[in-house]
Amino acid sequence: MNSSTNTTGITISVIQPKTSILDKPINTKVKHEISINLYALLFSELVQYCQNKSSSVPEFQTKLHEVGQSIGAKLIDINFYREKNGKREIKLLNMLQFIKINLWKNIFGKECDKLERANDDERTYYLIEQDSLVNKFISVPKDKGSLNCAIFVAGMVEAVLNNCGFKSTVTAHWHKGTTYMIQFDEQVIARG
């Protein structure tokens, strides 16, 4: 495509799409759905790609986690807009409920099964999901026992929480299905 460069080095694009993405309606009521098999195959390609790019399991997990984060960051605005009229949650529990119910429903079509708090640590919460969409067709090789590809979803949740001002780390574990362990920063708990 042609582009012209002026003296200061700023590139001005000559492509003018007729309708920009901002002109499209944001609240499409018609839910578009696609086959789960195709999704599984696409996800498998993503997993394989990350695996080929990394030399160890932790590196692989980090990579998948990062890809998840890039999605999570994009989920925030649209979901708050659709579900809460654009009003953000500022209370910890409400935020977690929002993720468990609204966000999960929007992206996975059902609520997350359980939300629990650790008995001995008020900074730690668990989101528990019996069968995670991304793990539906994945069998983990024996030598990679602790690997859980739902780390991808954990990345999404982490990005949502962090970008909403709840500093935390989220990891995925095999426990009662898949458990996402959310560990909040001290300051989040301290402000109540």
Partner: protein, 178 residues
Amino acid sequence: MARQGNKLDSKKVNSEMFTLTYGALVSQLMKDYDNVEDVNKQLDRMGYNIGIRLIEDFLARTQSTRCQDFKETAEKIQLGFRIYLGISPNISNWSASGDEFSLIFETNPMLEFVELPDNCTNLKYCNVLTGVLRGACEMIQLDITSKFIQDQLKGDNVTELRVKFIKTIQDAIPAGED
């Protein structure tokens, strides 16, 4: 996973999840590769891997039989899009010899939320589809190629995918065993 009789009507997932996952994959590729052409190639390769597995599912689900001509194949491809992506691209612009046609997409869930930055004008965002078609057809002994000649992301009204029949593969030797 245990096979459950003939319960082949697949479950569905929200297309936004698919759109976002695919978008994340493409942007990851853009980060990892310097050259946009390499990204296009990589997307095509990924599509190929998807296609060679997706065709099994398609055959099982539709109980399709052998196509008599390429026109029938085109209809099957269209049906495939309906099953897996929930869209029906129009088939048009047949070449005189009947070995080339276009799939016209007016809507495509893959393009939701997508905007190409100026430095990605050579990126074929949906290139995974060319790979899927190539992979799927190769598994049924059809050698085809396809390319995008119009793209909504680049300001065209529709997205047009041109599919060309090359030949029927005679000896189906599994890849890597020749």
